[in-house]
Symmetry: C7
Subunit: 96 residues, 7 copies
């Protein structure tokens, strides 16, 4: 199954703790809004602006991104793995 | 009876669990906002933007889409089957 | 008495249950927001957009439409029959 | 005293029950938001849009209109008669 | 001290009851939002619109206006007299 | 330390009571929102409008202004003196 | 790990008290919203306006800025040091 997100939405695969450690980032338990790392699997065409123009997304398929842990909608595949659909505006940064 | 939804609304026929399993997707009971699969039966002309332009919809008749279970308005046909009228913005993704 | 609704408002005559059965649609009692069928008696000129353009309505006089039961303002004629004045955005779909 | 309402405001003289009966309209006591009939005494120049254009009003001096009973601001003349200043957007329809 | 109000603000000197009676207007004690008469002492340049244009005010210095009694900010001069700074949108009408 | 406020923000030095008396203005204790006088120390470049244009501020460095006492953010210098950073929209008027 | 913030976001390294003292600024404990100093490590491309234009940020990498202490999202590096991702609109001023 492949998902084509609508408008300014993005499909993400969350990266687990080990991958996060490899990336050198650590999220404290005390953080108000815990950001999480994920890999971009698919991106929407972008948001339609008031002038009819569609503003493409900044993130691209394959990017590793930081996003709020409780943003978006979780979907589980048959094997139990999770993916998330979130709006690009809920993504904080691209991890380079 | 045929329905022509207004503006950026979409008429959906929800797909039952079996079809969902066939599509390979599984929605966990613990999900905050349970997304559901549906088939697009009719689409509106689109939303009128501030410049008077009408922004057509991304989804087309026949698309299978993921949408929030509690979005939209349910309508029952005489045979008891349900259809939903929802705004396109409440559709998360097209299932390919 | 004839009413010319302002802006994006529409004057509707609600269709009773019998007519609804004839149209083949059935609204379950359990629906969160019960949609109702009505006949369009008059339409406004449309909403003035930010660029000064007036966006005409999609519905026309004579259309049968689905709308939320509790939307709009009820007005009773001397014979006790009701009409409703609602904004077009509260109309879900045109019944064809 | 003459009032020149600002922007998209309208000065109305409410029509009493007798006049309403004459006009053939009857407002049920059970209506959520009781509409009321009034006569337009003065209209503002219109609302300034985002592009600087002023959108003139649809209602004209002399029109009989339906408006929400609890909208606007009441002002009493020395003889005890009331007039109302309301925004045009709170007027539902012109009675023809 | 002279005040130059910013943007779409207006400086008003409230007119006392006697003057109001002279003008022929009477505000009932039961009014939800009691309008009050005042004299315009100074006006701002106007609100900056989304297109960068500045929309000048409708009211001019010297106008007598009706405004909501509890709108704006009261400032007292050394002699104890009050003036008010309010946004033009809170002014209901010009009294002619 | 010098502060360059961002966008439509302004850096103010509050003027104390004595200076206020000199200026002839008196703020009653009973005022809902107590306005206060201050001197403009620095101004931002202005707010970016929807069309990309930057709308410069009306207030200039050196202006004495009236602003709401509880607006903005207080910053204390080493010597204990306070300055405030507030948005221009919270400034009521320029005192001339 | 390097972070490229999205849209109008900024990555900041908070400056500790000693550095703040050096800079001559002191934030009182009684301040409602305690501003804090930080150094800009990375800036987003800017916010997409309604006309499709991207409005670049005012702050640049290397700037010392004042921001609200509780704004943004904290991220901890492996060595325990914190960085913050915040929107430029939450930055009050550049410290020169």
């Amino acid at each position: 199954m492949k998902l084509q997100p609508l408008a300014d939405r993005v499909v993400l695969e969350p990266l687990d703790a080990e991958q996060k450690t490899a990336g050198g980032i650590y999220i404290p338990d005390t953080a108000k809004e815990k950001p999480q790392q994920g890999k971009v699997l698919a991106v929407g065409k972008g948001k339609t602006l008031d002038n009819g123009q569609v503003a493409g997304l900044e993130v691209k398929v394959g990017d590793t991104v930081l996003y709020g842990k409780y943003s978006g909608t979780e979907i589980k595949d048959k094997d139990g793995s999770s993916i998330f659909i979130i709006r690009e505006d809920e993504i904080l940064a691209i991890v380079k």
